[in-house]
Symmetry: C2
Subunit: 253 residues, 2 copies
């Protein structure tokens, strides 16, 4: 039996204010929860008895068996699943040395939880360990973002930072960004390290961030020069750019 | 002033049943409606007087000036815009000769309107004129799909067809599909013509469709062979694959 106060607490984690106050975040569903359980400290785990019985040793501060009815009341999903978990938010520090030597993604105001989740999932796929977000980017611990990462949130470090100051500090690292007037990603030699800046869905990359970008990139449409949709969705553009970086890296190895 | 029956009619177009009965579809918002007006027959256009005044000659069967209140009642969007338009659905026929000579996309049961809209937008970007969908794929005229195409629906022909029969007919054309056990897209020579089959979000490509696929493709993760998210979102995978087809085409030209 799930108490009213527990239900209220879980549902409050939909709001950034309460996530910040508690330092916690929410994940729902068998696959997601199992994927991230080994990586984050689980404070509270609510699940159907059959789900609990099917697991081995469950490391959770508090473990509550609940029925369908309770889970439906606590869940933020349209289709509630067998398990809801509350995790402690990890406290990552920016490692500038790592940023200098690896490839990282930067979000300058990406707003849509689905896009952010997809970007983190892409980072995981392409071996990109760090995603740095401007403070006004969507919160990675927004439950919709967490769900959209499909578990990649456990393997990718997402950190929030003031971008102009950070990029200014990293001025010996190639800083890439996607622009309509950049160089073709097919023709530009893409390095194995550096930062790739992706802009807000509507407004793109802000001027005070853009001025730190040393290599402007463009995704060619086809056939070149024809009329087309004037832009690609930010997650799709990130996918194409990351893929081309890694294709060129593999070619060189 | 918008009559109750007009509001009811517009809102009914959220449902496939009524779209099929009327042969119509809905588009909302200044940019989308203006982008597609030249391409489709507009049956009904409802807009704020200031919006109407700002346009040149408007070709619409019926033009109704409406206030905020009326538009809010008719709109399917969370944030209603200045204009709502009802268009006649185009009646495209499959042109098998065109399919043999160009590059086309195939949806084997893609379900999410956002994914389908993104795929059509990608097709437009990469000069892919035809998208063929299995009958159980999401309806391209679903208002959410129409919005997600960002106007690309005007330039890309989306046709529904039984895939096994069609693919069997096109057996002299390369038929590609993304699989976990395929050949790397970086190493496979990707042709300028052919079909690229993308599968359902959860189930992938069905066996009776897969058996017609002559070239299995794989998007390499990085570094190769490491543990990662086990799959990419279908729209993201489509983006990476289409980009690689077109990159190789440009390289050959």
């Amino acid at each position: 039996m799930l108490s009213k106060s527990k239900i209220k607490y879980i549902r409050s984690l939909a709001m950034k204010k309460f996530r910040n106050e508690t330092g916690c975040f929410l994940a729902e569903g068998n696959k997601l929860v199992k994927d991230i359980l080994p990586y984050f400290e689980c404070e509270l785990l609510i699940a159907k008895p059959a789900w609990i019985a099917g697991q081995g040793d469950l490391r959770a501060g508090e473990l509550i068996a609940a029925d369908n009815h309770d889970i439906e009341k606590a869940s933020l999903l349209k289709t509630p699943q067998d398990v809801i978990a509350v995790f402690k938010q990890p406290d990552y520090q920016l490692d500038k040395e790592e940023l200098k030597h690896g490839l990282s993604l930067v979000s300058d105001g990406v707003q849509d939880p689905g896009n952010m989740g997809t970007i983190v999932r892409l980072a995981d796929w392409f071996g990109i360990r760090n995603v740095i977000c401007s403070p006004d980017s969507v919160d990675i611990f927004n439950p919709k973002t967490v769900q959209a990462t499909m578990g990649a949130i456990a393997r990718v470090r997402v950190v929030y930072a003031e971008l102009p100051a950070l990029l200014s500090d990293l001025n010996d690292v190639p800083i890439y960004g996607a622009f309509l007037e950049g160089n073709s990603i097919y023709e530009e030699k893409l390095s194995a390290n550096g930062l790739i800046v992706m802009g807000n869905e509507g407004k793109g990359i802000r001027r005070r961030v853009a001025q730190h970008i040393t290599r402007k990139l463009y995704i060619p449409n086809y056939p070149p020069g024809t009329e087309t949709t004037e832009s690609l969705n930010v997650a799709v553009a990130t996918a194409i750019i990351c893929n081309e970086f890694r294709r060129q890296s593999q070619l060189r190895n």
